[in-house]
Each structure stands twice: as C-alpha cells, then as structure tokens.
Amino acid sequence: MTCEQCIESIGPYFDGELSAEERAQVEEHLRDCPECTAAHRQLTETSSRLRAGLVRYEAPDVLRARIRSSLGEPARDAGPRLVPLASRSRLAWTRTIAAAAVVAVLSSGLTFVTMRGRAPASSLQQEVLSSHIRSLMPGHLTDVESNDQHNVKPWFNGRVNASPDVPRLDSLGFPLVGGRLDYIDGHNVATVVYTRRQHVINVFSWPAAGDDLAPVASSANGYHFIRSRRNGMESWIVSDLNPAELESFSRMLAR
C-alpha cells in the first residue's frame, strides 16, 4: 500500500468502514510509516475533540408536544389543541398546516379555525390590543407585582367574578410578573402578566357564555393573539413574542 492510498483509507479505517482485509493492509502500512501514523493520530485527536466538544442537542419537550399535537394524536390531557401557526415561511407552512388540520380534525373531531393576520381585526380583538398596548406604557403593567402565584391569584378574589389560573412557568422560561385589572367588552377582566426575554405577555380572561372554543391564533399590528374559551371563561393571550413561542406558552398555560 502506498502512502497516498493509506492516507485515503485512514478515515474509513478509523470509522470502521473497511473490510478485514483492507484493515490489515492499512495496519501493516501504519506499522512502518511514521508520516501516515502521524496523520492517523491527528485524525483520531480531531475526532475525539469534536465528540467531546460538540453539543448533541436533545429535542425540547415543547417541540415534541408541538409535533404530537400537529399529528393529531388523540389527546392525553384535557388541554386545548392548536394547529401550529409558526409561519415565518408561509408557503411551506400553508401546506403543512392544511395537512395537520385535516389529520387533527379526522382523529379528534375537534374543529379548528385558523385566521391570518391580514384579516381585519374584530372589535373585541381591537379592545384586547388596546389594553395590551396601554399596559406597556410606564406604570401600567401591573396592579400587583409578584413572581409568586400565591400572591397573584388571591389578589383577584373579590375584584373579578372568577379568579384566573396562575400557573408558575418560570422553569419553562416564562416568568410571572404580576396581575392587573382591565375592562374589556363590558367586563372586569383579570389580566395575568408573564414575560419571555424582553417580551411582555398579557393573559386576559373573563367569564363568557357560549360553547368551548379551541385556541385560535391571529395577528394584528405586529402583535399575536391566541383566543380560546373553556369552561365558561374567555381567554386572550397577547404579545409581540413570535407565534411559535406564544403557542408553546398557550399550551403550557392550559396544562
């Protein structure tokens, strides 16, 4: 075996891609050739540094949940279902959303409504958006400021007819900031405030008549909304956070 042939073979040799016969030839050459031996040592070192230094990522739970949900796997919890709307590449997504929606509807019998940002905002959406924007002005974000749900939830008692759920989601990257009262659609509204990085997320909820409504995502004026109705409570999640993360948040909130 020439040095040229050996150099060509040390990769496959190292990766276990050679036959026994080829291995023997490489090993025989390496015994007598310091240059090729040095090349082999260099390759071994590079490979072990890569394996030691590079991160092998684990798919986050949020991603698994999104995929399960979009495949329409029968629900294992009672949480609301949401067709993924993370649609920065709209062409690809339009097709996959359609496919996912069909699968999901067939399997679960739930109906989904997807609403694109170009649709004119409903007046209710406009009201929710106004409250959101107002909350971003200095001094308006919270009436009770606390990252402890045991402070925030009781604060609503007596101030609104139905105190909202205030799950703690810090460990999932959505720290609780506090609570606030708003007035939307003729109701006193309980608003729970979370953040994600520099983005504020307002969760508005109030008692509302009518059937349950699976989560519906929409966008207007650069803000993203997820509306749902469950157990007689209307809920709107609003933020300028990207739709994918807002959708994850919505799912965690409903758990």
């Binding site: 990522y57 995929i67 690809a92």
Partner: protein, 174 residues
C-alpha cells in the same frame, strides 16, 4: 388516521428526534428555526410515512429534516445575512484568519463549535452526522443524497480542515 399508524410513526421516526434536532441546530444556527424545521419535517414525514416501506427510518427521516433545513435557509436568505448555505457558495473557503481569531478565545467547547460553524454546510452536515449521530457512510450517503465515495472524501476534508483550524489541543498544551 388510525391511532396505530400514529404509534408506528412515533416509534420508527420520532424516536430519532434528538438526531433530527441536532442536525437542524448545526445547519440553521437558531433554536427556533431548528424547531420549526424539525416540526415541518415531522409533518412531511408523517404524510409520506405510508410510502415508507423499507430501509432505515432514521436515514429517511434525517434526509427530510435536511431538506427542510435547506428550504428554511433559502426562505431566510431573502431577509437575513447568514452563513453561506447554497450550492454556489458551498465551496467557498471561510476566511482562515477570521477562523483563527474565532477559535483562539473561549473554552475548548467554544473553539470546537466555532471551527465546525466555520465549515461550509456540505462538510458541516457530514461531520455532525458522523461524529454526533454516528451514522455509517452508507446512512450518510442516504441522508445527503451523494455517493459513498463523496461522503468519505467530505468527512476526510472536514476533519483535515478542523484539525488545522483547531491546532494543538489547548488542554494538553496548557
């Protein structure tokens, strides 16, 4: 869709989600893009799962993930300057001096990551598939869609370049 089919899909395809996400992270450099691409790939795979009859499910799925990453990157190139990732730029060498500076600082892990990121995508993907997911040349050939001989020479070129960029191991030198 029958639940049974979803179950078979999960077992055969989604058990490789870590490999899929790892590949996407190294190709797209952004965790949200990577998640979107893998989700997109999972949906595509699910739709075509009925047609998947034989062969290795992991390679089949990773090939779809890789295609989705390329699609994502193409869509991004319009509005974002990024690491070259298309056929016309694959052969471009990164500026060796920039790479030197890049890998001089930080921990060993940072240095290794920076060196891998400085590789053109066609070399980066084979290194990730080989060193992290431990695919065989045959499997990599299926994922990337090139002959095994090409896989072999790309892995070899990638290792030589990485060895040169990384230089001596600082842990041993220090």
């Amino acid at each position: 869709m029958a639940e049974q089919q979803v179950g078979g899909f999960e077992e055969l395809v989604l058990s490789h989600l870590d490999d899929a996400y790892t590949l996407a992270r190294y190709l797209l450099h952004d965790e949200h893009d990577a998640q979107d691409a893998v989700q997109d790939a999972s949906l595509r795979a699910f739709r075509h799962f009925g047609g998947f009859r034989h062969g290795d499910a992991r390679s089949w799925f990773l090939a779809i993930v890789r295609n989705c990453c390329y699609d994502f990157h193409k869509a991004r190139r319009m509005d974002r300057s990024s690491v070259p990732f298309s056929d016309d730029t694959l052969e471009e060498l990164p500026d060796p001096h920039a790479a030197d500076e890049l890998v001089l600082e930080g921990s060993e892990s940072d240095r290794v990551r920076a060196a891998v990121d400085a590789l053109p995508a066609e070399l980066r993907e084979v290194i990730v598939l080989r060193e992290l997911s431990e695919l065989s040349y045959r499997e990599i050939s299926d994922v990337v869609g090139v002959p095994m001989g090409t896989v072999m020479s790309r892995i070899s070129r990638a290792r030589v370049r990485l060895g040169a960029m990384l230089g001596a191991d600082s842990r041993k030198a220090g």
